[in-house]
């Protein structure tokens, strides 16, 4: 029955390996910005509720960067979603249809949350104390978006739930009742808060020349947030690890070489990032924190393939061998990197 429901995939232009590489390269960038958005919105809310001028100044500084982070989170979400649709479209489209009402509502929620972020930024002074409610609402909306995203990313891995469609075609099926859901959701949220902390610490560096007090305060708040939420997230990670199917779990602890290697590197990076954040070393916390994020996204991919292996493997996709569009994309990509570099360089020069 289940195999009979999984849609037949379309052919792909080039070997699946290229899409897999592109997916693995672009996903962590999206994760970074997405976590930065949710985490820094949470931190700004907390700071704004404190009756402390220094905290408000830092909240204002975060407010300036928040809309930019949202723009890049969305933008860098396009590429991984595109490559994920190429490799796993038959699962992703299906799960999206099953939860269509919630999935499409993300668009409306995101527009509101995004405008609230801009409102908070552009009218920070004017809003005064009201600002805390604006940023809090934006933060809550981002949490709701995370809830729906986590649902879809899990639902697409559970083809055994697909027959529920016959009883509910209105697009309101979720994966929240699956035992993996809660640990996965909390793991994502706590991870976002931790990376949000790192983001706040990093953007505080821009203040070091003009307002050293705020720069130092931002670094302290950011690294503390990173440390404590990472610590909490180890418990959520362990909870998720214990709830995923045994065969996947075993793959991460010796059963599969690639799975074990990426998992171990991710865990070691987390430990090192914890140590350096405790020591208030921003540079090394950032290096190991981001390495952890990168390898955890690889672990996530390993888990996804593990879930789907009874039904499908991307290597089974039929290839039509049309490589020239790939070359075209890579050329555009290189030009894009060069132009982006020039733009950022000129912007930095202008601000200095």
């Amino acid at each position: 029955m289940i195999n009979n429901l999984i849609p037949n995939p379309d052919t792909i232009q080039v070997s699946w390996i290229y899409f897999q590489i592109l997916l693995l390269l672009t996903t962590p960038i999206h994760f970074f910005f997405m976590n930065a958005v949710l985490g820094s919105a949470g931190i700004a809310s907390y700071l704004h509720f404190k009756k402390d001028e220094k905290a408000k100044k830092l909240a204002h500084h975060i407010a300036i960067f928040l809309p930019l982070a949202v723009a890049f989170a969305v933008n860098f979400g396009v590429a991984p979603l595109l490559f994920a649709q190429v490799l796993y479209g038959q699962f992703l489209y299906t799960s999206s249809v099953l939860m269509a009402v919630f999935w499409i509502s993300i668009i409306a929620i995101l527009i509101i949350a995004y405008y609230l972020a801009y409102y908070y930024d552009f009218s920070f002074e004017k809003l005064g104390e009201k600002g805390k409610w604006i940023i809090l609402l934006s933060f809550v909306l981002f949490i709701i978006i995370a809830y729906f995203f986590t649902n879809n990313m899990l639902l697409m891995l559970l083809p055994e739930t697909f027959p529920k469609w016959f009883k509910n075609m209105g697009g309101t099926i979720l994966a929240s009742s699956d035992r993996v859901f809660l640990p996965k959701y909390f793991h994502n949220l706590a991870g976002a808060m931790a990376i949000g902390g790192l983001f706040v610490a990093l953007i505080s560096c821009f203040k070091s020349k003009k307002d050293k007090e705020i720069a130092d305060y931002g670094k302290e708040v950011g690294l503390k947030t990173f440390f404590y939420f990472t610590l909490i997230n180890i418990e959520f990670g362990l909870w998720q690890f214990l709830t995923i199917p045994g065969s996947i779990r075993r793959g991460l602890i010796g059963g599969s070489t690639s799975g074990t290697v990426v998992f171990v590197i991710a865990l070691l990076s987390i430990l090192l990032a914890l140590v350096f954040s405790w020591k208030k070393n921003l540079k090394l916390t950032a290096i190991f924190g981001l390495t952890a994020l990168l390898f955890m996204s690889f672990v996530r991919d390993f888990v996804r393939q593990g879930y789907l292996k009874d039904y499908f493997s991307p290597s089974s996709l039929k290839v039509v061998n049309d490589y020239s569009p790939l070359v075209f994309f890579l050329v555009i990509f290189l030009i894009g990197i060069f132009v982006a570099y020039w733009l950022i360089k000129k912007a930095i020069e202008a601000f200095n």
Binding site: P7, Q13, V78, Q85, S96, Y114, I332, F333, V339, K346
Partner: protein, 507 residues
């Protein structure tokens, strides 16, 4: 049949796509033309060394960022989401064939965002020449996004040589790519002018504002005029069937074309008045020009979508996600046997209605709602009996080109008819007892899909028996919308009698 369907019987997927798509294309074209508009305004302000003008440009840039970065980009993702929910088969096909076109478009999207932020946040902080260069990078990136997306969108309408070669480049450089790109480029300039006038109507009166109002109205007038030749070029490259729909065969397109024409005239006239008398650009005037722009873009997109019917990808995939090359095998082997996401494989008397519902969901729901305002199947089929519907369904594409052919067996057509006539309309579902056809049955089987009995009181009023009989031999000549009557001469005679009877008798 390959994917599940998001089934909202009273709303329909098409409505949801249209809602998001129309607001998105409006803003996304502004995002392209607005880039060029900002550069032009900024250059003008520099040339005249006018600080007031520069201040207006900066304010406009802020509005531009807020609208295009938030609403424009998120509704762009929204279109992707909603098309994947309503037509996952179509979007999957496009993504798998044009993934690197989309990926390249994503690179330009990244550049657009970086350039837009740099442009806005460094306004007044960067040397003029570099700042204008940043503006140009924004515009070129935005235009490249338009170019790449247009290639894919127009592939859906005119796949051209792709149908033989199946390669990325033949699909991308399809016959309507260039007319469409030029047309959309001027449409994006039109949006810039329209938004310019609208935003300026809120600003306080000043000499700088007056200059920009005149300038914006020129963008509106010139863009509409330059869109015309490319619209004609666009129509000229359409496939025969699409062209005939655009040229009058589709009643909805005829109305849409009228909207397009009147909106364009209104845009040009009001633009000219505002140019001659900038003070006239009050809120309500700018709002009318704004709405004219909205209607121009909306009616164009509607026409393009409607011209593609019955396909989602012309000559490749029908709007109900069934591939053209699958239809024959589905007719012979059965839809329910081959489809995924159906629970009934064999039709019995007990499950016939349910089987019909499953077929409806997969084959009809893409365009028809049940009781909704858009293409309500109950309204469309209300004059037809079960047997008439069953016969009509089998030849549906022949009678109405813009509807996909029914992809299933005779038995499945009957199940679908049973669901529509029996379950939805509460009519009797009964097989005809004998093969003998009376006038009423012939009418129901052949005419009731388009005509109601009451129509004939006026339609053939005053006609002689000979005239009616002769007309039945040449229906397609009387009106090219009508298919030829395929019955025997005897059936034509019987139908003639019946038609005269329901029209009130021979005069």
């Amino acid at each position: 049949m390959n994917y599940p369907v998001w089934f909202l019987p009273a709303i329909g997927g098409g409505t949801l796509i249209a809602f998001i798509a129309i607001v998105h294309v409006f803003v996304s074209h502004f995002a392209v033309g607005g880039g060029a508009f900002l550069i032009a305004l900024e250059k003008k302000a520099y040339k005249e060394e006018n600080k007031e003008m520069l201040e207006i440009v900066k304010r406009f840039a802020r509005f531009f960022i807020l609208l295009t970065m938030v609403f424009g980009s998120i509704t762009g993702v929204g279109i992707w989401f909603i098309t994947a929910l309503v037509n996952p088969g179509g979007i999957s096909f496009l993504i798998h064939n044009f993934v690197f076109g989309w990926a390249a478009e994503w690179v330009f999207f990244v550049l657009e965002i970086i350039a837009a932020f740099v442009y806005y946040y460094t306004f007044g902080k960067m040397d003029r020449k570099t700042h204008l260069k940043v503006g140009w990078i924004y515009f070129i990136s935005a235009w490249m996004s338009l170019f790449l997306i247009t290639g894919i969108i127009d592939f859906m309408l005119t796949p051209g040589k792709w149908l033989e070669s199946h390669t990325f480049w033949t699909g991308f450089f399809n016959p309507s790519l260039f007319p469409s790109v030029f047309f959309r480029t001027f449409m994006s300039f039109l949006m810039a002018g329209v938004f310019g006038l609208f935003v300026l109507s809120f600003y306080e009166k000043s000499a700088a504002k007056e200059k920009f109002v005149k300038y914006s109205s020129l963008w509106v007038i010139i863009s509409i005029i330059l869109m015309i030749p490319f619209a004609l070029w666009y129509v000229s490259v359409l496939p025969v069937e699409a062209k005939s729909l655009v040229m009058g065969k589709s009643p909805t397109i005829v109305i849409t074309k009228q909207v397009l024409t009147y909106s364009s005239i209104a845009g040009i006239l009001l633009g000219a008045i505002v140019y001659l008398k900038p003070d006239f650009n009050k809120f309500f005037v700018s709002l009318i020009i704004f709405l004219a722009g909205f209607l121009i873009i909306g009616s164009f997109e509607w026409t393009r979508e409607a011209a593609r019917r019955p396909y989602v990808i012309n000559k490749v995939m029908y709007s109900n996600m069934i591939f053209e090359n699958e239809v024959e095998s589905l007719k012979s082997e059965g839809f329910l046997k081959k489809a995924k996401w159906v629970s009934i494989r064999n039709i019995t008397d007990e499950n016939k209605i349910q089987a019909g519902k499953e077929i409806f969901i997969h084959q009809c729901y893409a365009c028809h709602t049940i009781g909704g305002f858009n293409n309500d199947i109950k309204e469309r089929a209300k004059s037809m009996s079960y047997t008439a519907l069953a016969r009509y369904i089998e030849k549906i594409h022949k009678v109405r080109y813009f509807m996909p052919p029914f992809a299933g067996t005779k038995e499945e057509a009957k199940a679908l008819a049973a669901f529509i006539a029996g379950d939805l309309l509460g009519k009797e579902v009964k097989e005809p007892e004998s093969q003998k056809l009376d006038g009423k049955t012939i009418f129901e089987n052949n005419c009731s899909s388009c005509h109601e009995v009451e129509d004939f009181e006026d339609l053939i009023s005053g006609w002689s028996k000979e005239k009616v009989r002769k007309a039945l031999d040449m229906l397609d000549k009387l009106n090219e919308e009508m298919p030829p009557f395929e019955g025997t001469p005897k059936e034509k005679d019987t139908l003639t009698e019946y038609l005269l009877k329901i029209s009130g008798g021979e005069k």
